[in-house]
Symmetry: D2
Subunit: 457 residues, 4 copies
Amino acid sequence: MFLTKVRSEGLAHLSYIVGDKGQAAVIDPRRDCQEYIEIAYAQGTAITHIFETHKHEDFISGAQELSRRTGATIHHGANLDFGFGSPVHEDDEFFVGNLLLRVLETPGHTDESISLVLTDTTTGSNPVAVFTGDALFVGDVGRTDFYPGQEEAKADLLYASLTEKILPLGDHVIVYPGHGAGSVCGSGMAEREFSTLGLERLNNPMLQLSRSDFVKRKSLENHVKPPYFSVMEEYNARGNAPRLDECALPTPMAVDDFAQAKQDGMQVVDLRMPEAIAGALIPSSLAIPLSMIPAYAGFFLKPSQKIGLIVDSYEQVKTAMRHFQRIGLDHVIGFIEEGLHAWEASGRCFERIPTVHVRDVVRRIQNEDKVTILDIRKENEFQAGHLRGSMHVFLGHLEERLEEIPKDRPVITFCGSGRRAIVAASVLKKHGFEEVENCLGSMQACAANGCPVVSYS
Amino acid sequence: MFLTKVRSEGLAHLSYIVGDKGQAAVIDPRRDCQEYIEIAYAQGTAITHIFETHKHEDFISGAQELSRRTGATIHHGANLDFGFGSPVHEDDEFFVGNLLLRVLETPGHTDESISLVLTDTTTGSNPVAVFTGDALFVGDVGRTDFYPGQEEAKADLLYASLTEKILPLGDHVIVYPGHGAGSVCGSGMAEREFSTLGLERLNNPMLQLSRSDFVKRKSLENHVKPPYFSVMEEYNARGNAPRLDECALPTPMAVDDFAQAKQDGMQVVDLRMPEAIAGALIPSSLAIPLSMIPAYAGFFLKPSQKIGLIVDSYEQVKTAMRHFQRIGLDHVIGFIEEGLHAWEASGRCFERIPTVHVRDVVRRIQNEDKVTILDIRKENEFQAGHLRGSMHVFLGHLEERLEEIPKDRPVITFCGSGRRAIVAASVLKKHGFEEVENCLGSMQACAANGCPVVSYS
Amino acid sequence: MFLTKVRSEGLAHLSYIVGDKGQAAVIDPRRDCQEYIEIAYAQGTAITHIFETHKHEDFISGAQELSRRTGATIHHGANLDFGFGSPVHEDDEFFVGNLLLRVLETPGHTDESISLVLTDTTTGSNPVAVFTGDALFVGDVGRTDFYPGQEEAKADLLYASLTEKILPLGDHVIVYPGHGAGSVCGSGMAEREFSTLGLERLNNPMLQLSRSDFVKRKSLENHVKPPYFSVMEEYNARGNAPRLDECALPTPMAVDDFAQAKQDGMQVVDLRMPEAIAGALIPSSLAIPLSMIPAYAGFFLKPSQKIGLIVDSYEQVKTAMRHFQRIGLDHVIGFIEEGLHAWEASGRCFERIPTVHVRDVVRRIQNEDKVTILDIRKENEFQAGHLRGSMHVFLGHLEERLEEIPKDRPVITFCGSGRRAIVAASVLKKHGFEEVENCLGSMQACAANGCPVVSYS
Amino acid sequence: MFLTKVRSEGLAHLSYIVGDKGQAAVIDPRRDCQEYIEIAYAQGTAITHIFETHKHEDFISGAQELSRRTGATIHHGANLDFGFGSPVHEDDEFFVGNLLLRVLETPGHTDESISLVLTDTTTGSNPVAVFTGDALFVGDVGRTDFYPGQEEAKADLLYASLTEKILPLGDHVIVYPGHGAGSVCGSGMAEREFSTLGLERLNNPMLQLSRSDFVKRKSLENHVKPPYFSVMEEYNARGNAPRLDECALPTPMAVDDFAQAKQDGMQVVDLRMPEAIAGALIPSSLAIPLSMIPAYAGFFLKPSQKIGLIVDSYEQVKTAMRHFQRIGLDHVIGFIEEGLHAWEASGRCFERIPTVHVRDVVRRIQNEDKVTILDIRKENEFQAGHLRGSMHVFLGHLEERLEEIPKDRPVITFCGSGRRAIVAASVLKKHGFEEVENCLGSMQACAANGCPVVSYS
């Protein structure tokens, strides 16, 4: 008997494989699914079942890919007409060796959301754990904003699922949620990824609310919805995402070829750290630090777009490809290793996005310098505290709101730490802003330096 | 924040590393401790604390080794005079980033046993999990037979620790025990390694008993105590196990050198599967399948003994060395790869331990053939059901009870599956028994074939 | 600049990747070609060229597969109408960075065979190395028996290629051949895989011969030609081998399912060592030790045949799949791990192929026991020395010559070491021979024991 | 039979392991010697012999460390009184399986230098290869400047060794040298690491010279001799380098602890790329890009010095530790991962070393701006071509010549590509130069941009 969590960094997506006596079930597999196979087969178990707790919005489901490789059957909630797999209903039961998985219909996040209750029949009939998908997280609950105009109804539905289906399973039940901290599918998740229903009942802020307060709070939430979500939704409903082995593989490119491809429309994406962008950046690049791809690449890149990467090493290409493929950006055609070294040596132009220390930002504010402090964090982060005089545009909306930003003065981009601000800075550069700087350390450093902070909360 | 379980296969020893904000604590580290370092450092955390829930009997603690490499402080219960580290007491608290570890004194298994209660201060003040060492397992509780003559008193102490200290933490608390199924530190553990106090309260058979029944049941238990335990106990109390980097490394040996070393007293240990032993075995070898080393090597080998291995590949040597070093068998001097291939090609003698199908065993019983069916399983296994007419000697006691076994007839060794029986068979061969056979499939196959089984339970 | 040899064990196939300044060429890639990509990309080089020194007979070329993944162009000799790539001619030149590859047409092994002369233009114009494909090996030269009836003409052609094209490049030139010792594409290759033209001129026995002696010697050679060669030849001429990512992946199977599939026609292939087969073997299995797959599986298995594996661990499945896929055995549908453990525990029947020590064989010969000593080595091995009274049938021809082997007496299979003899033994068992034994140690052990050996040479 | 080259990147040190029939010899092992063991044991060979072609100056020999772990005997030239191992003399022979290693005394680089001639006795008596240590490289020959005042005599000795001992072995002999391109032990080595004596006879510029020209040319060479060489020489002569397993391991450090340690004397070494240093640098850091450690760390750091690292990831620490330990910098006590992220977030000060495009450098030269272009390349590189008006100080001598550099104007550091220049720039910053910039792309980019270059050659 084994249960292994497989985490997709960045997406903070959590999937699970649970097996016993030659059989294994995977819950919410991701598209790059070989890892489940390696885990299962090393344990001598075939992958026999795949469960989707709901239709994912933020990544491509690996159910089809994994089923193709293993022959496992796919199961999902009945309240959506999926183009593949077979629907399950309340109290349906599936044995995986001596483990029993029972279906709970837990709508709210989506109509077809299900939870799966795990019982270990070798030790008793009490439920041991529950896979809650996007219904219940550690410290938060799922989004209910995917049905425009029905936010309140869905929130109410979720409340019922949580309080009438999930929590009654008992305090002793371990919770295995579909996402951890950092996911765009919630904002209040704890960093801790292990919990029980008892702990959530006691500590989860959302579970301390009355039904009406719960619904009200959910209705007021303001979640990001990157444009790529709609592509994911279609892929995941129809099961028609391209096969991974038919996607092109990026190759190392000579500087001349890279420059030519760029001229022919390839978007350069520079995956280095913000500090390195201060040294050199190919004009018109998007600077998206490697770890920021899952959360932000989907705002700025389209599935059909050709992409060329700047990386430190080939290992980073492999990591980046996983990130890109998980969200359907399948057209990465090439890359240059060792950063801009070869580009520089070719004598080609590069530009820079200088770094600014937070003290200089403060000094400039105090001097009343003509400068825009552009805070690109999420709405709730901004409201919780920001530098006096700073302008707020959420990074995901930046390209649509460029005209609001004054072009006649320097812009200093600002975020929680500097890694999202560099994305914003590169977007501005790309769109013709000449003096763009990136504040390193950002909000944390402000706190440490006693900077003047305005808070709305 | 991260919590990772590190499992030592065979010993079924479970250790844990938990970290947050640059700090990490390891609970019950094993001697080959580099893995904790890799986990911690990859997360950007230093290892700052090492906790020993109790003085281990079945493996060498890695506390000293890990402390030497990381500078971490060592902490253990106060009711034993350890030769290293510093004692902790009830309610002592240690912060690891935002995680809080609080000490519970939970004697019973040993006097100095402690449990560690984990609280995640970022989400509330309720305990999240408890590291129970050998006090509470999933489906079982710790042994209480280490203080001769005080079995009842220790069982009573353990009962109090469980019911007055641990269970009151609440049903919602996750349990992280020191061992899983297969450990010699218990016999009723569940295969499932994840649980909560609520689940244990509901399902753990030992926790369903009254205080007096609990004490009675514990007093009647019959656990194995291999001779190497006493070495472990001294190492772990004094902290004087040899440094790993000062232990000799085994080298590949030529057949001639191997034969010479054998003649000079080196014990040959053949790590291949029982089936292969049916093909060829160097005379006087001990056949201990690789996965059987942790549980049984300590009965037949002494810390000072020179050992030479027969393996399929060098990878197996590395696995075997981890197993041997964990129990203090540090004098493995060499090995031969690719099984007995080179030995055979050299024209040297080999012998065989033929395999027997369970149907043949039954047929021979029914024919009343002159043969000894030697069942070498544990007492409780034997009592739960065995072949009619079979003789019982527990594998660990075999060498002391050889004279009880008739030498005038064939012996068929018998266990649950065939992997322990081959150890017994090789021991018999080594001690001059001429006709020794090994029954493959054993008890499970008996059941499948409807063999005549006697049960005492 | 880098040059890396990629060896396919068992096939003893040697391929090469050579790169410089962002470009790389692969010579004679194998079907499982991801390794070339990893090597090239880690060096920051794209794979730009693929060369085939000739149409391979003994494995599936990876040219198409690699080209599909990298976009590299494929080049091969002009004297065959390949269904893909483009033909090259004498003195055609290709730059890979500062490295120059020049084509030498070197027919003989096949008509379209080419060699590639490597010059490092940064250090001078002298050739540095030559990739000789199957024209020249270390210690041997290529086979010339692929055009029935033209053996002498092809041998003469090869002599000319060697003495007029290759050797004149100079003693100082490093040789990179297409095969090493153990390949079925030659029989006299040295174990050493590195050499120079000077060394071959001095030491290669075939290059010490006059033209007429060379032709005579080649005409007398007697090479194996497994049935799967014809499939390889078609795949490699047309470029129509199935895409690797469309081949089924084997899954772990439950014993019941495995038994059912066997009944439905799946061939069980047992990859364990000969010694283990002495312990237990599923009836009708083929016993092919893992390392024997490349050389012998193609004699006994067909591309369309469903195969089920018995292995020790999943790692072995991965190794086996590489071996199977390289020779087009794409229908491995499942496997059982941990050897026959689960099969035995299910109580199902197993049989055995006992092992025999070489001394017992000799004793039986001397006793004039009624027994067939079946020597299944290659013709030349048999002639170089064999046990008095033994019968010779080459392993590859065994299934066609079964009726020659007496069924009324035990058969002892015999080879150089025991790993080929077990294949033969399992074939006999499968075809109803009841008493089959396998001699371990075999010819080497005979020598060590002073057994009576007959030699024809 | 196998022969594997083990390359130490950066040092461009080449060592070799050659094995046959259960035995293996290692030539010139490095201090981190586990890799030889893994290679040998996976091949079923013990490491039986260790040869030192000479006393190394540029790295710590692993002979003692490897001997300690394997029991292999150590052999080296007789013309130096080593504190360990045993001396060998001309024509001494050692068998490694069927391979024969014969000693050639080939002094010149050092007095005790030997070469080892490899013969494969299975194929003939002609030498197959020669391990030349630092006598002969691909495209160059060894340094002869280690005996002050005897440069000409040693050059003459080397000439004799090359022309009377090594070349006469024959054109067909493969050369395995002790270093490849990039080593400080030569300056003209080819990038190609494989060659033969014939190729060197034809192409090696040094072997085209008459004896007197050879001696003259060698006497004029100007090699770097970093201060750490003297430590290596003592370690390698006496065999008293510290055991690797007794060296401290660096741990992740919290920013506060790192800052405190820095204040207490720890030298911060920032291993990130030059571009990242343009973003942020802890004041007083040495910026040494990871790949520059082997060649330049020994100029700026002392064996006793405590070092703290700035890295992107823990993987880089492991790479850096190998580099540091190879040259005896054993006191790396801690590191911070993810670059300066945590440092910045703490609000602490950082400084920057801005990057300059080569066109701006040229423009400033043409404008006659008050700026120092500081070219820090090697003497021969500078002479082969440099920017008009640039000042030359070799990087290795920079700290001794700081007073020559004007402090009243900006300094732009300049090298072949930008990675050495950043070291220089950080040294200047550390010593109080305020305006320091680093030119990216450097000499290659100059060529591409048609910059005004002065050449002395």
